[in-house]
């Protein structure tokens, strides 16, 4: 895959938890050496977008399934280990190499 992955972290308002989530995703990407761009957004602004991976809280997962190839649902925004596991699964689904 030559293009960078496009990932978005989304939450209700798009300025709090999604921002924290974005920072944690960036840390995980650095660790796994996966090149990607990470945006953050509120849920309603996702309409019309098409990301490779959309990361949201579990109860938004259904709502956002049309805005990304893979939806990653998390319950704990601060748990980087869990986030890493779930992103690794997503990379596998997308056929992206990760370390």
């Amino acid at each position: 895959m030559s293009d960078k992955l496009k990932i978005v972290a989304a939450c209700g308002v798009g300025m709090g938890s999604s921002l924290i989530l974005k920072m944690n995703i960036e840390d995980v990407l650095k660790e796994l050496k996966v090149p990607a761009t990470v945006d953050h957004s509120d849920i309603s602004s996702l309409i019309g977008t098409n990301y490779d991976i959309v990361v949201v809280q579990t109860f938004y997962a259904d709502q956002v399934k049309n805005y990304g190839k893979v939806v990653v649902a998390v319950d704990d925004f601060l748990n980087k280990d869990k986030l890493k596991e779930k992103l690794q699964e997503a990379f596998k689904t997308l056929g992206v190499e990760a370390q």
Binding site: C11, G12, V13, G14, M15, G16, S17, L19, I20, M23, N24, Q57, T58, F59, Y60, D75, D76, F77, L78, N79, K80
Partner: protein
């Protein structure tokens, strides 16, 4: 940076709240006390949590309620409230909540550094346990001063 925002005025420990609304109000009042927001922002916080559901509970036991910048923000800031008795926010994975971190920002980007440090602090189990058990505000203030932010 965090220690200059989360000052004594913005911290209240082992408070009593009968439900999530009261907890959010108490957290919001700390933002008012510290000069970060106008009182109207506190009402907007309660409305935002009501409107968007239990999304504000970001981690087990930790809620991060806030409203939008246009709801009466003076400058970006944070407050920390811990509860003597945890309350339910309606988030079945992460309830009950005993740490309420309220925040406000003037736009979508100026508070990034503040949230980055907050995420580091709350991501540390040791720091979290100090905050949870703290009886005196000074304990938290000292923690913020000594915490190694990267």
């Amino acid at each position: 940076m965090l220690e200059s925002i989360l000052t004594e005025k913005a911290i209240k420990l082992k408070a009593q709240a009968k439900d999530w609304q009261e907890a959010v109000r108490l957290g919001g009042e700390l933002l008012v006390n510290a000069g970060f927001v106008h009182p109207a922002y506190v009402d907007a916080m309660v409305e935002t949590v009501r409107e968007l559901g239990p999304y504000s509970v970001i981690s087990p036991g930790i809620a991060m309620p806030h409203a939008r910048p246009e709801a009466g923000v003076i400058k970006h800031g944070l407050s920390l409230l811990t509860l003597a008795t945890p309350v339910e926010f309606g988030n079945k994975e992460n309830d009950p909540v005993d740490i309420v971190v309220s925040f406000c920002a003037t736009d979508n980007t100026s508070h990034i550094q503040m949230l980055a440090e907050l995420a580091q602090l709350l991501g540390s189990e040791e720091a979290l346990s100090t905050i949870r058990n703290a009886e005196e505000v000074k304990t938290v203030v000292d923690l913020l001063k000594s915490f190694k932010f990267t």
